[in-house]
Subunit: 681 residues, 3 copies
């Protein structure tokens, strides 16, 4: 049973740590949370040291009491397993549970996310704890979610990890000869004759800086291995829970576009995706939106959970600005607008001491509800209560997709060359932002996902083309789809080995071009091109290419490659394949995708034309749509910081204000305002 | 007997290292130093390896000769103990004497300040050496001062330190349960069940950057422990000296506002405070002055010693500018103006090789007295000789105090949030600078010091309020005193635990406000407020507050909290309590304190009005006063770089030029000029 | 037999790694390389792991095949020894072969240049491999060059190195007393009583940052020791080769002005100097030229080899710009113009994977010759073929010399003071650039080299004056030569001990000045001086000096030392000695050297006047000359980026175009164009 089917409204709540407080505070909290409309709390996130005071002993009394107290309030529980930080006694007795860092230093007890994922001791006790919790609370019916560990992150480089890495490699490559071939170890005399000769790639072996490696194939596999190691940790706990509670809904909280973990691979092992949204103040709304869409795409469009956000301020940014009045609500609805079925906070009550005592909470150190933040939380709680079952479980009807791939991200950014300034996320955001400004619903998918049902697939920086992907892209375009590629695409296989014969390798026939060379421009230099009569910038990397069937849409205007193609379009079967051979500016991507979308007749969220949709973006309005049982929900989110007047091509009723709007009628949305329009059919 | 009572003039001299030179050079040096009016030399600062050539052997012959030679010249001696750098043989035989650094690396022999303060071997031999020196030279009557070690600094994170830390904690907390409670270890599952589970907080445990910790309570206690460990080193040596020479005057050279060591706590164990003044070229004179006042305040206003300054240039700055002609003299008198009873240099003769061969000295590599620097030193030497007993032992009659606290400094700057740009010293300097520009004599005191006798206490960033402090502040204000507080005050107790119930915690009643939230602005953003008809900037952190009895002096002008209070004044008993809820600019602090001082009728150094005093500051004139036996000494220091005309409200005689000045008469002070006016009663 | 006598033309080729490719690719490569006019390939650079698959086994079959295949094509071979990277099995079995880095971390297997130079295991097996290769291929007559290891670089700080360092010190200093005296260990109590107490200077002992030391004498000797250690590695391999092939021509590839290795000392052990030229795109042509001249000077003007350059792009720069059309050819001829007798590339074919897959090659991933880069390589190949024996072996007839010294470089830049912004290379480039713009041929020599035959010697930053050097400089000037010195000269001896008595120490009589003090200006400040009626900047460091016989050419205009000398000229015997007491700008150095060269009547490359020569520089034209058997070859290199019209004072025939030019006739040189004029006698 999907999470959305279990709940009768958008759940509202978040992390609560009764273990940090005395019982009298618990009572005050319950009262305040009830006032705020909180109906779910996440318990037991960092509690291992209390639950297991020694190797032989477990003690659940305090947690029992907390569960009981919360249950009496009629709240649902998201039960965490506490394995995000091991106890100090364990680190003392078994130093192997501590990580060895990228500099080769064995760490000591401290912080959190501190366990080596390949420590047998950690693995044994983490799994055992998850099992014991599930056994103890399996009859606790208000546990709607199991939350394994917390924000898995980082990596370990210890000897246990090295040993496990070798086993992982044996499973992947079978023989050392095969590994040598696929790692191309003849380069720099790296031939391995025995698995034991292989060490973890780090600052004391293959890396010349944290991100950059001298041996990409090894680094790439270690990143896969590390992600898989933590996934194995997650799965072990999930299995221990499932063994007790077969229909448990199990998750762990992701962190958006978090590089070290291949969430796409993880998602298959989660019953529902949940994530923690902590944008920096002033972050581009499209960058936040892209994270939501990425999270939604991990499980093929299934609604996800907003597990954490701050009600007011973070503590770990350089400048921890307050969320301005209304902004917490706005960002909450933005999550829902992109597919979230919960709105949850870190945290219910602000800690008294420790790293996060400056982090915002629903209940502040003041301890009462007479604060701006509490009142905003309360107002939202009432609104969500009134909304009821509306929207819950609704899907985003996207016909456009953006390909996002962790392997590609890793490979591109651990390379030596062609430019240190190339960042995978930045390029994908450029493409996503244009589609977002046109209010075209977008799915973010993996290159292994099905392409069927989409009309447009954007695949910028498709540097790595895994087996079968080029064939499936060809099939997609041949059948009438539109594909968009960028510079530095089609270069390598899954081991970061170049596809010989000319770039973009396996995408060459589909794009109808051959890229001979790529120029790398310093930050202070630009080339340019003319596209539809207007000049746009070209920078960072400039492909110098020859067409092999493609039509030239724009040519460079400067330098020795002036006059050579930079933007091309190739007719392939019944479809079109675009190639954008450089990094351009926001104005270009908007214009380019306006044309691509018009040509393809893609529907905007509001059924407006793309030009009208773009005009709304000028006003700082984000527009998205979710759909359920034939009903469309149109979200209008005002990120502009001031009141805006607008109209849309559909009519409906704003579920938040109760106001009806007519097709084409002008209406106003306040600064930080939100409309959730149930569209009239 | 206080140091000041032992001397018949301002002593003049500094570090001399005969061990680096041959006897013929000694002879030249004696001749030159005599010419320069030098009457005290510091011997034996880095001599351990020579004094103790092996574990079993001591050899004082060379030092005997140096002492004899210096004594024959009639000079006084400041005898150092040489324990600032251990011998290489000791590091080789007992690696435990070497420190383990913040990265967890055991260091090797090298540099200086290189000993682990908790190494039993180091402690044993350091104490023994101090004792042997005292025993040998106890009859050497011209030793006016014992100088233990040298510029204690840094920290160690080795296993011996960890073990000693646990003992220190046991003494502080008694039980592990009490420690868990006061460290709030329920946060992030940090509960300790055994003292041995506790490790030193460092980059391999609790820190995410050098300054910032994930567990403030642990970091805070480790800083206390490290400071205490070195203090114990100091005390052990001091006791060994005292055992031989009961009336020895013992000190070690401090370094101004040096963060790692709680000098306030140390000062009780020193007979006299001495310090090394190395401002960067172009440093704000008020920042230097604040260091002097801080040093003077450590022992409740007792005169201190200027132990080191460079006669010309440093070697360890990025750009080691020469002190311009006259500046060495100006800075020497600035020290005296703030309470120094010696003027001493590092160093007498410039080293031939090693780290400091580019560091200035009285006698340069040229080896003769025909240099600008030597001649300036000589002129000052003559002047100090002529001055005789004047000023020596005089006190600064301050009615205003600034609270400075190492624990608060540590706690604030190891936090995660609210702003990485918040620096304790910078804020205190803002407050100090305003009072300095008004020429109001200021004592810098600890929060444990008595408040009695002051009329104004400024306590910016009083983030930590130790037990009893708020009560004593209330008593001070109730009795008619004026207190000034800033944003981010009253937050925590001595363990960095928030005082619950609303900020500023224990200062809430005294200030008559409740701070609900604090906004953290990036460097590029500002709010503003209008105070007495003029607009001033507000930035960094902006408290959003409610008055609870206080009067509003200024309100924010922008953003969603426009119109809320930012500057308040609360009448409490017979006194006033001000609260400045943000970081503003220099113009504001000057205006603000002008009003506060006027209201309070505080006397400036020259008995001018505060407005007149501020006008002198515009000319770059610093003015201070010292007082002895009813005599007032007024110091006028021209930092402006050019000649200035001025007048003051007192008459007297300039002891340096012999010139008399009348009350209100205009007179000139040269660029870098100094006047030391003995005020007519 | 010199390398130049062995070859009948400028050899053309570079690194080729058949071991990375399958035999079918070998065949394609041979065909393409033949088309490109390649006649030499460097084989076996990183092949150790393949040649020695285990401790007991060697396998040369694949290398045999590669040698055979290349030989059949009639190509010459540069045979590398593969010891630039040890095999993984060796690191696993003998961790001692791995380096310990500057942070004290034992490294793991990875990267390259990864061997400890003092590992007995590494030394044994590296030498054995070189011997085996030489034995196997000693009859292979087309091996024109043996290439030991590859780009020796870096340093090791392990215990084996420390032990070897102590042996090295014993040999240098004889007794520990002598070492203590010359290291001035009385400073900071560093006296050593036993050699074993001495440790490697690193971040965990004497350094406070990577470049800067607290004990310069130790750091300086460790740099010497490390350079010597690798030189010993080189020599051991070279001896093993020589034992098999007495007339082998042996080299290793240098890297221009590479700080860690004292190439001047190394050069005596090389039969011919070779180096790898990788300027950043946009690098000043004079900076590249200076590297060439430095390399040529290592063996007293003997022609050198350009061992590596990229045909198109690097991969390890921040921005890896393509070499623009013609630039590869231009830089190739620039190398020849400065004394190169080969033009070689890294690499023949671009690697499929690994760190350098983005590095340019003659044959790209596309795998065919239809690329811009291949065609440019091919065109140059044809040109060099046509050139035949011309130029080969010709010498540069320089009458001006610039002194370059590794010890001085090390000592200056490991110091603490007087300015962190002082860079040895930058200052030397300022002087070199001026002479280059005047087209005065310059030799770059060591201070131990003979001064005889030169008319002008520029010795900026002659901070260290080794034994006998000042006497030889005096002799040079006395006999009529001109010498030019700068600030911060004459300070120290070979152990970085100050020459007492006044700066510039041993150069004081020769320069006729005494430098009393040196001011260090921050980046934002400047002084100035007037020279020949024009004002020039003075910055960074400003000597404040007194003349002692010298004539004052310019005086400071500002600050307290306004009016004191900054540029002086001293007549000494029949010659002149100039002193430039500060860092000035490019305009000054050009004007200054114009005067110095005119006065001395120095001949420019083209026999033009210095003014005419400087005018050509304004057009971006570089001009150099080589001479053989009475024939002069004049090189004209257009770095300006556009076509230039010019004339020169000699007539001759351009060997590249076949065109004749007459004395004084105007002719054009294309952008990136080159003329190689065989001058009519």
């Amino acid at each position: 049973m999907a999470f959305s089917d279990k709940v009768s409204k958008i759940l509202y709540g978040g992390d609560y740590n009764p273990e940090q407080w005395t019982p009298d505070i618990w009572e005050q909290d319950m009262e305040l949370l009830k006032q705020a409309g909180i109906d779910v709390v996440t318990l037991n996130v960092f509690n291992w040291a209390s639950l297991q005071p020694s190797e032989e002993t477990y003690d659940f009394a305090e947690l029992d009491a907390a569960v009981k107290r919360v249950t009496e309030q009629g709240m649902a529980i998201c039960m965490a397993t506490s394995t995000g930080a091991h106890p100090a006694w364990m680190a003392k007795r078994y130093p192997e549970v501590l990580r060895t860092d990228f500099e080769g230093r064995r760490r000591k007890f401290g912080g959190r996310h501190n366990s080596c994922p390949n420590s047998p001791v950690f693995k044994q006790y983490a799994k055992r704890l998850a099992g014991k919790l599930a056994e103890r609370y399996r009859e606790q019916k208000n546990i709607v979610l199991w939350h394994v560990s917390n924000e898995y992150e980082g990596a370990c480089y210890c000897e246990n990890c090295e040993k496990a890495f070798r086993v992982w490699l044996k499973q992947r490559y079978g023989t050392i000869e095969n590994l040598n071939r696929l790692w191309n170890t003849r380069f720099w005399g790296h031939t391995f004759y025995d698995w034991d000769e292989i060490v973890a790639p780090s600052m004391v072996s293959e890396h010349f800086e944290e991100a950059r490696s001298m041996y990409q194939a090894i680094t790439l596999d270690y990143k896969r291995f590390n992600s898989d190691s933590m996934l194995a940790n997650y799965r072990a706990e999930a299995e221990a829970i499932r063994a007790q509670i077969p229909d448990a809904c199990i998750t762990t909280n992701f962190m958006g576009a978090y590089k070290p973990l291949d969430y796409k691979k993880w998602a298959a092992s989660l019953d529902v995706v949940s994530w923690d949204n902590y944008p920096a103040e002033g972050a581009d709304p499209a960058a936040i939106a892209m994270n939501h869409d990425l999270m939604r795409g991990l499980k093929h469009g299934q609604p996800f959970l907003l597990m954490e956000q701050t009600p007011s301020t973070c503590n770990w940014l350089n400048d921890n600005r307050l969320k301005r009045p209304g902004v917490m609500r706005l960002l909450s609805y933005q999550a829902v607008a992109h597919g979230a079925d919960t709105v949850m906070f870190f945290q219910m009550r602000r800690s008294r001491a420790g790293c996060e005592k400056f982090h915002g909470a629903v209940i502040d150190h003041a301890g009462h509800g007479n604060t701006r933040v509490f009142k905003e939380c309360q107002a939202l709680g009432m609104e969500l209560k009134a909304l009821g079952k509306e929207v819950v479980g609704a899907r985003v009807p996207a016909k456009a997709a953006l390909i996002f791939d962790w392997d590609t991200w890793w490979a591109l950014e651990c390379s030596a060359g062609p430019s240190v300034r190339l960042e995978y996320l930045e390029e994908l955001q450029n493409y996503y932002r244009a589609l977002s400004k046109l209010h075209i619903p977008v799915d973010i998918i993996g290159m292994e996902d099905g392409f069927c049902g989409y009309e447009l697939i954007a695949a910028p920086l498709l540097y790595m083309v895994k087996d079968g992907v080029s064939e499936r892209l060809e099939e997609f375009v041949r059948a009438g789809g539109t594909a968009v590629f960028s510079y530095l695409s089609g270069y390598v296989d899954e081991n970061d080995r170049i596809t010989l014969g000319g770039y973009p390798g396996k995408l060459r026939e589909l794009t109808g071009i051959w890229v001979e060379e790529t120029d790398s421009l310093p930050e202070t230099e630009q080339n340019s091109f003319c596209y539809e009569g207007k000049t746009y910038s070209a920078g960072l990397l400039c492909d110098i290419m020859h067409t092999e069937g493609a039509e030239v849409l724009a040519r460079y205007q400067e330098d020795f490659y002036a006059g050579t193609p930079v933007i091309t379009r190739n007719r392939y079967g019944d479809g079109l394949s675009y190639y954008v051979g450089t990094r351009s500016g926001e104005d270009f991507y908007l214009r380019f995708f306006t044309n691509v979308c018009k040509e393809k007749g893609l529907r905007t969220a509001s059924h407006d034309t793309v030009e009208t949709a773009a005009a709304l973006s000028e006003k700082g309005i984000e527009m998205t749509v979710r759909k359920k049982d034939g009903v469309e929900y149109l979200f209008l989110l005002n990120h502009s910081g001031k009141k805006q007047e607008l109209a849309v091509s559909v009519g409906g009723k704003d579920l938040l204000s109760g106001r009806e709007i007519c097709r084409g009628e002008m209406f106003a949305v306040d600064a930080a305002g939100v409309m959730l329009v149930k569209v009239f059919v």
